[in-house]
């Protein structure tokens, strides 16, 4: 029950607006690009130095000099521009990117995010995640509601943070929450996925949250 990975991506795509510059993380967030509404101008940013990229290349047309931040071969489109990593993160840290959609291991009710390391396991590094959550105007997390029956929406993150008070919205397979990260107004459940119930969400959520009157 609830949303599939693709349906979560489709729900996340509803946060897109015409003219947005958007950075998508690896995994479910990448799928969001399949749901950009026709006629809407959305430019995707890749933090290795590209703004505006197209689909994967046709077989035989892969270019080793043309990759996205996941190191996958991609293509150029008429709006494409290239720049250095410093310019790329100036764009990100300077607040010029409108929306970042990324995955998470844990999110806390105050907007804290943990998605880069598990102590005791081999750490791969945070890549650009800390910069994205610190600098992008709106941060949307897309993740499974719980992992092996352990809640991922918590009162406080137990894993090392990627950012403190950075998440604006969480989309899980069961529903959608907003977080008032600046105002300290906490977390609110605003939508239920089809088939999900308020009781199920309550039982799988450690974080305190309000339920929107609409529900």
């Amino acid at each position: 029950m609830g949303w599939t990975r693709d349906q979560m991506a489709e729900r996340a795509a509803k946060e897109l607006r015409d003219g947005f510059y958007v950075n998508l993380g690896i995994g479910i967030p990448t799928l969001v690009s399949n749901y950009i509404p026709a006629g809407m101008s959305v430019q995707l940013q890749s933090e290795n130095g590209m703004l505006g990229f197209g689909p994967f290349p046709y077989e035989g047309e892969e270019d080793p000099d043309l990759i996205n931040a996941g190191k996958q071969t991609v293509t150029e489109i008429p709006t494409t521009s290239y720049f250095s990593s410093a310019d790329s993160f100036a764009m990100i840290r300077g607040g010029h990117i409108d929306l970042s959609i990324l995955g998470a291991m844990q999110v806390a009710e105050n907007g804290d995010l943990a998605n880069w390391m598990i102590p005791g396991k081999m750490v791969k590094g945070m890549g650009g995640a800390m910069d994205l959550v610190a600098g992008v105007k709106k941060v949307v997390v897309v993740m499974e509601h719980s992992a092996k029956n352990e809640p991922k929406l918590l009162k406080r993150c137990t894993l090392p943070l990627t950012g403190a008070g950075v998440v604006d919205m969480v989309i899980t397979d069961l529903g959608v929450f907003t977080i008032d990260k600046k105002g300290g107004g906490g977390m609110t459940l605003i939508e239920l996925a089809p088939g999900a119930t308020l009781d199920e969400i309550r039982s799988k959520t450690e974080a305190s949250y309000r339920t929107s009157n609409a529900l």
Binding site: I67, M130, G165
Partner: protein
Amino acid sequence: MQKVYPDARAALAGLLKDGMLIMAGGFGLCGIPEQLILAIREAGVKNLTVVSNNCGIDGVGLGLLLDTKQIKKMISSYVGENKTFAQQYLAGELEIEFNPQGTLAERIRAGGAGIPAFFTRTGAGTQIAEGKEQREIDGEHHVMERGLVADLSIVHAWMGDTEGNLVYRKTARNFNPMMATAGKVTVAEIEHLMQPGDINPDHIITPGVYVKRLVHVPNAVKHIEQRTVRKRTAAPAGTGEEV
């Protein structure tokens, strides 16, 4: 002043020392100075600290310098693609300092621009901020990060002229331009060697002042880490061409 050297080994002659700090351009395997890395392996210098966004993959790029245990410490943002790295790290043979990718890029840019430190929101409230000076600016927490300067920077460019003016190609630009500015000595490998005047001055990304030595690497073999493609769809009837 002759900046062009006959091969990678000659371009690095006299510059390599044990224990030095080297910046190496590239993102994944895209835009890495591979021939210069091979020459460093051949030279055998050890205890290197290497600043690079990643550490190659097993047997390719900086991964080559892991095989020979020439690297003591990496300063990177992500090293997930390398088994040798994990083995050496878990065995205590290799140190890693993780920097957020934008902080890493900016530390290099700052180093090259003579800026010893800067404040950023990135990492505030995380373990990246521990032990660093922190300051509240305009009501938000910021972390002080230091500029980075290298004993040697090695970069890869698409075109370069004999003056050292460089142009990069597509996403192979990445960390190369900042690293070119942040090396006490910068050596560039270039795919196409041009004469002064051949490159439109408006198109030059790295002015020659930053580049001390050049090596021409025509037919450089390039690697793809994640080959992702789509299938060609059949042409609509009657169009007679592929769409």
